[in-house]
Amino acid sequence: MESGLRTYVAKRVGFAALMLVGVSMILFTIMRLAPGGPEAVLIGGEFSQEAAAQIRQRLGLDRPIALQYLGWAAAAVRGDLGRSFKTGDPVGALILDRLGPTLQLTAGALVLALAVAIPLGVLAAVRRGTIWDTLGSAVALFGVSFPSFWLGIMLILMFSEVFHLLPPSGLSEYGHETDVLARLRHAILPTLTLGLIQMASFMRFTRSSLLEVLRQDYVRTARAKGLGGGTVVWRHALRNALIPVVTVVGLSLPTLVGGAVLTETVFAWPGIGRLAVGAVFERDYPVIMGVNLMVSTVVITANLLTDLAYCAIDPRISYR
């Protein structure tokens, strides 16, 4: 058993590393093959071929693609993600800087979403067919049909322009600073925008997952045995129903660390999503590669750990 486990872990870790490399290689090649490059952005309005050639040379873009990739990869392994083409700042520092605001937004939204979605989803499933179900499902349905940027724009219009209740954008208040309350005020609309839509999707999933579990044989057996509805639901069904929900939450991991691009753009939120979008438009390759590496690493590691955890918990799963 022990060696089986070890081999399995080794295989999985190896594969995970391979995936990381593969993804980064593909991304790298796509970017180099695409037309245009960072020169135009760096030079701006006073473009000249001569300056462009100089910049390409300075950034090492005239070397063969394979060499460029190896150079990047070798440095990345040592923890050096290079420097941004646009600003010259170390990529690692740039990402760390934006990580705080990103997590504030996405973690906040996730917590909000789960806190509302799970109880609502359970309610809708348990009281199936009643007004609770209809209302809850309707709200959730609306939520997943809304374009997120549209929701953000509408919220800003309502709460900022019309009612002057909340600030329209940004991370912190210019004027009332160390005020944690002001920070919270700034975070409300973006968190709501992101959270409401996530909430809707989680709720639908919780409901359908719980319904699925509730109609399984062992639940009916428990009911037939006379166990009260509450016990059945909470002890058996919910626990099992939540497993797929965890999977779905896991699917939102890339957004969690990669930033919610649309929401960040609407609210001028200085997170990783906007950093990535800007980098793509400006062909800032080191930043793109760095962000991607960070997100893939987090996601692949999380998946790896989850799989290993399942192995440890569930003796039925065999190591292949």
Partner: protein, 287 residues
């Protein structure tokens, strides 16, 4: 003792018809498809004819939804916009379904090492933030309709694959499959004739939900400046163009935004209805 009798088996279709929500969704979907297909006939004006003197006019008898920043008729552009959304949506969904179903069914049927390998590959696609990947491809290679559809398919096939896989996993253990194998049917035959046919309801449900999703993704892309380019109207780029006028000419951005919302809602309702109708344990109960 139970209300239902096992001998009576109303068809799925009839149950779908009794599902009010699904029907409503179906109506919306039908309207959108008709609008998109017959846009040249239905639209009262051309989507591109400008009239600089007629800009930013509020809804009136001549222009039911008003005019935009170039004096173009908003109603006509909303109708034509459904066509663009439909084109991208259908192409992306078809691709996504084909790839997802093929990959998922193979993984679910064969299980074992094949399954593991395929699922790992799918994991790769799921580990990159979707919008990020789309952005890279579209920003670098141009925002043509085909490019957009291709890259949306790239991002959405993996969840489809997962769903199909789990369905096929459970199906492949059923008696009829064992029977077919015992009778000497080859893998391809079993896959096609038995598994896929039974997985079809799931696939159709996914299709409906996917179509809604691609419309949302496309409008998001337009917001970032990619997606369909002028003068071709897509609901997404109409919202973007109209956004600067939100305070003074609200109709330009609001109606396309509403169109996105209603259409996606319709597809979701339709998909939900289909799912309820194809679920055997739900038959006998109307909602």
């Amino acid at each position: 003792m139970t209300g239902e009798t096992r001998t009576e088996r109303p068809s799925a279709l009839r149950h779908f018809a009794r599902n009010r929500r699904g029907l409503l969704g179906g109506v919306v979907v039908a309207v959108m498809i008709v609008a998109g297909t017959f846009a040249p006939v239905l639209a009262p004006h051309s989507y591109s004819t400008q009239s600089l003197l007629n800009r930013l006019k509020p809804p009136s008898a001549a222009h039911w939804l008003g005019t935009d920043g170039f004096g173009r008729d908003v109603l006509s552009r909303v109708i034509w916009g459904s066509r663009v959304s439909l084109e991208i949506g259908l192409l992306a969904t078809a691709l996504s379904l084909v790839v997802g179903t093929a990959v998922g069914s193979v993984a679910g049927y064969f299980g074992g090492a094949v399954d593991t390998a395929i699922m790992r590959a799918a994991d790769v696609f799921l580990s990159v933030p979707a919008l990020f990947l789309i952005l890279i491809v579209v920003a670098l290679f141009g925002a043509s309709l085909t490019n957009t559809a291709l890259v949306i398919a790239l991002v959405t096939w993996a969840p489809v694959g997962r769903v199909v896989r789990s369905e096929c996993l459970s199906l492949s253990n059923r008696d009829f499959v064992h029977a077919a194998a015992a009778l000497g049917a080859g893998h391809a035959r079993i896959l096609a004739r038995h598994l896929l046919v039974n997985a079809l309801p799931i696939v159709i449900v996914q299709a409906s939900l996917l179509l809604g999703q691609t419309i949302l993704i496309e409008s998001g892309l337009s917001y970032l400046g990619l997606g369909a380019q002028p003068p071709l109207p897509s609901w997404g780029n109409m919202v973007v163009e109209g956004r600067q006028f939100l305070a003074s000419a609200w109709w330009i951005a609001t109606f396309p935004g509403l169109a996105i919302f209603v259409t996606v809602l319709g597809f979701n309702l339709f998909g939900d209805g289909l799912r309820d109708a194809s679920d055997p344990t739900l038959r006998g109960r109307s909602s």
